[in-house]
């Protein structure tokens, strides 16, 4: 299958107090177009850093990233942060249209696109609310709509549901799968929750160690719609846990 992102020998080091800390060490990864990739790993393993490099918030120290995009978009990738990071002084609809500004669209066109994106996440009714009037789950859905509004080819998601309560989280997981099937976007979903990754993704990539290295790469063939029971994928869960390392088991699985 054609790959949309090709990562070759990617390394990243932070310089702090004259100390050089390697966060990612020669990572190779190919992402197929339209795939739903789960990236799991313990805190500090560099999985968020990987997304930050892809979106341009951090600079790689070595290696290269090749993006093969179809459209000549200014912004072919969009990132959903762990916390929604809505701009509190903008109404919901204006938060969603944020990324469309400066793209030559009229105000009315931006609003129409933003309302479309809000429709996808089911929040059209809240378009004129202020962010502080929303619940945590609604805020994260607005953040997802903001990313979808720019019609990116790849959606990067950095533990987007980890701060939500279990019921909201499960609802949003199902919604994300529905949106993925609806839009056919490529999704890179970073999480420290193994079950979440296995429930959502086609392919689960495990980062482990310090500096972070590619420790395992599993295909998840469970047919959709999936159940939350991990029986079918018990062997994958076990294998992922093994790769995360026993000492990181609790951290990786429970939260």
């Amino acid at each position: 299958m054609e790959s949309v992102i090709d990562i070759r020998g990617l390394s990243l080091a932070f310089e702090r107090d004259g100390h050089r800390t390697l966060v990612l060490d020669s990572l190779d990864l190919s992402i197929a177009r339209g795939a739903f990739i789960g990236i799991v790993g313990a805190s500090g393993v560099g999985k968020s850093t990987l997304l930050r490099v892809l979106i341009g918030l951090a600079k790689a120290s070595a290696g290269e990233v090749t993006l093969s995009m179809h459209s000549g978009k200014r912004q072919p990738l969009a990132l959903v942060f762990q916390d929604a990071r809505l701009l509190p002084w903008r109404r919901v609809v204006d938060n969603v249209s944020f990324g469309l500004e400066g793209g030559g669209l009229s105000r009315a066109e931006r609003r129409a696109k933003a309302l479309d994106a809000l429709g996808i996440v089911g929040l059209v009714d809240l378009a004129d609310r202020w962010p502080h009037q929303l619940s945590g789950g609604q805020r994260q859905r607005v953040a997802l709509a903001r990313a979808l509004a720019v019609e990116p080819e790849v959606l990067l998601m950095d533990e987007p549901f980890s701060a939500l309560d279990a019921i909201t989280r499960e609802g949003l997981q199902d919604e994300l799968v529905r949106i993925w099937r609806l839009t056919g976007k490529t999704i890179l979903f970073v999480t420290h929750d193994i079950e979440e990754a296995i429930y959502l993704a086609d392919r689960v990539v495990v980062l482990a160690g310090a500096p972070g290295r590619l420790a395992a790469d599993h295909r998840i063939d469970t047919p959709r719609p999936r159940t939350r029971s991990t029986e079918a994928s018990a062997d994958v869960v076990a294998s992922v846990r093994r790769h995360l390392g026993a000492e990181k088991l609790i951290d990786g699985a429970a939260i």
């Binding site: 341009g56 200014r74 990324g99 400066g102």
Partner: protein, 269 residues
């Protein structure tokens, strides 16, 4: 955030008691004012104080009315509000520009650090001699004095507000490809810093009013000058009229500003 949530129920239960006590509180305040006015009226009448030195409140409405009829009150108010507005606007604009620039750029901050250190402690009124030498005793001099006072307040407010904008929000702009300085400024920094800048502006509003009166006491036409004229003629009831005028105008401006501020910050929780 957590504070707000935690204190909300406490305030809710407290407000029940407060609304019950609201009427007596207002009544008490009115009674207090009445006692004050009566005392003010009685003291000169009892001969405890020369009525020429301290006119009773009953003398004020007539003095106000004649001053209003002659047109002197209106032109004094107009003149004061004129240089107040211009000085405030000028000082605020420059304060925001320099405050934001030094807040955004380390280079600008470091380059101006010592200039700020030298000029900042000079009291606004210490500029009066130069204001008179450069401009004479006129409106321009008043605008200059007012603008200087306002400038420093707004400068520091804007600088601090821009400096404390959350890194996380700037990253949102970066992630969506808005990385040029003016995109950051307009999309993130200015709106995020607005609450802090408005707090500075409100302080400046009061500071500028003091500067107006000071400049006018030196002879620039306006409320202060008219008040000094009245005082030299021992028309003390007119002095009181202008004191109360200043209080009323300031109260009005401040309330209007707070209303504007609340509207601009209606997105806040």
């Amino acid at each position: 955030m957590t504070d707000l949530i935690a204190s909300a129920p406490a305030r809710a239960t407290g407000s029940g008691a407060a609304s019950g006590a609201k009427l007596p509180a207002a009544g008490l305040a009115a009674a207090g004012l009445l006692v004050f006015l009566v005392a003010w009226e009685v003291v000169p009448r009892l001969g405890l104080f020369n009525p020429l030195m301290l006119p009773g409140p009953s003398a004020i409405p007539a003095a106000f009315w004649s001053e209003l009829k002659s047109g002197a009150w209106g032109s004094a108010v107009g003149s004061s509000l004129g240089h107040y507005t211009i000085g405030l606007a000028l000082g605020a604009l420059l304060g925001v520009v320099f405050g934001v620039a030094t807040g955004m750029s380390r280079l600008a901050e470091e380059a101006t650090a010592w200039i700020v250190r030298v000029l900042r402690p000079i009291p606004g009124l210490a500029w009066v001699p130069f204001a008179i030498i450069w401009f004479g005793v006129n409106r321009t001099a008043a605008v200059f004095i007012i603008a200087i006072g306002v400038f420093w307040i707004v400068f520091f407010a804007a600088h601090g507000a821009v400096r404390s904008v959350e890194r996380d929000l700037i990253e949102v702009a970066d992630a969506f490809g808005f990385r040029r300085w003016h995109e950051r400024l307009l999309k993130i920094l200015l709106p995020a810093a607005l609450p802090g800048i408005l707090v500075g502006l409100r302080t400046a509003l009061g500071q500028a009013w003091m500067a107006v009166v000071a400049a006018e006491i030196f002879g620039v036409p306006g409320l202060g000058q008219r008040m000094m004229q009245a005082s030299s003629l021992l028309a003390t009831e007119l002095v009181v009229v202008y004191m109360l005028t200043m209080a009323a105008l300031y109260g009005l401006l401040d309330s209007a500003f707070v209303a504007l501020q609340n509207w601009l910050l209606r997105w806040k929780a």
